[in-house]
Symmetry: C2
Subunit: 218 residues, 2 copies
Amino acid sequence: MSQVAQAQAVRRDAQEAILDAAEMVFAENGFHGATTRAIAERAEANPALIHYYFGSKEALFETVFARRSEAINAERREKLKALHAEGPPSLESILDALLRPTVALGHDPARGGAHYARLLVHVASGTDERSRRMTGERYDAIARLFIDEIAAAVPGLDRQAAVHCYLNAIAIAISLMAPTGRAQKLMKGPAEAESLNDILDRTVRFIAAGIRAMAAPG
Amino acid sequence: MSQVAQAQAVRRDAQEAILDAAEMVFAENGFHGATTRAIAERAEANPALIHYYFGSKEALFETVFARRSEAINAERREKLKALHAEGPPSLESILDALLRPTVALGHDPARGGAHYARLLVHVASGTDERSRRMTGERYDAIARLFIDEIAAAVPGLDRQAAVHCYLNAIAIAISLMAPTGRAQKLMKGPAEAESLNDILDRTVRFIAAGIRAMAAPG
DNA sequence: GTCTATAGTTCGATAGAC
DNA sequence: GTCTATCGAACTATAGAC
């Protein structure tokens, strides 16, 4: 490796180290609860590098939020494509394609997205202007795609109802992304360990039944 | 009114003005995004009064969060009591009793709880230690009560499933508390205005169907 | 390209006058 | 009980050395 290539590798690693650290620190307490100092410290990088690479704390936040969104939505589209290759997909398989890429973030350590999952909870449930804009920019297109899929899979479901069904599904997905331990706390007896597939199966069954109930009149 | 009583009235109003202002400012950007200066400014009170009355920003935050929680849960218990006076309540009526007092906060201006609704979204969806503790302190008891009600209303639903059903219901309720306009944004055509009763009716129908699907095996 | 040092604000909290 | 004034710390961001 030439000296130039090595320098570029170091430089790229430093940027990614900052992004990884920022993902962790922003996940903990959101945008306002994080400090660029804490991010630089965790990245073992110089505080000034954050501004050199990203320009501002705000720009770093948006970069971190955007970084994994394309991979998530690409995975969703691939799953949809695979489903359609086998004929009209079932509502359950559509919901699995929608939920699995995000719920897995918090439950599948191999993916390394646990911190992004918590960050996504912050932004997706935020009511401030920035959160709404960022959510829209990265997730409105995929939302419309899945709303159309849901509407097509359930006869009698009009588009307005499909939108509400999609938002209900996402609301539940958000609550599953970042485990808070509240379920275990509310159980009376000892909680059984649940696999990702168990969680998705029961959740998809719940949402699918809810959606079909919205198609029936009255 | 005596001078003493008047002074006490003024003092009580100042405290409440700070609480009202804090509710608004904390609602906007959460705990870390709020400043005691902004709260004092909006309350038209002296910044030092916040520490005099409440001790710290942290204590003020917890006081604001707790202030409306008892009223919300008392309303839920009253609704449950009224339902039981007419025999075993239906699942739908139980869910209405659970959701209406919180969803109404954001949609019923007369209640004046729109800011608390947004604050509740922050805390209830937060994954940090303080959010989890505060949610547990104020809402775990009522959660266990409704989990028992749901389990009793749906034959074949075990307690573990009832806990998940409750959490799914709350996740959807949280998404409805603070309107973000995303539903309107995702509609293709012009959105029809929805009343609180319309929102609750369709949401209760969705959740009830989901819960009943969890009772059936497989 | 990466660092040190620090500017310029703004924060939560408090001391002390009245 | 309520105010003014301010402290010390922490913040984002940047200027300038290397």
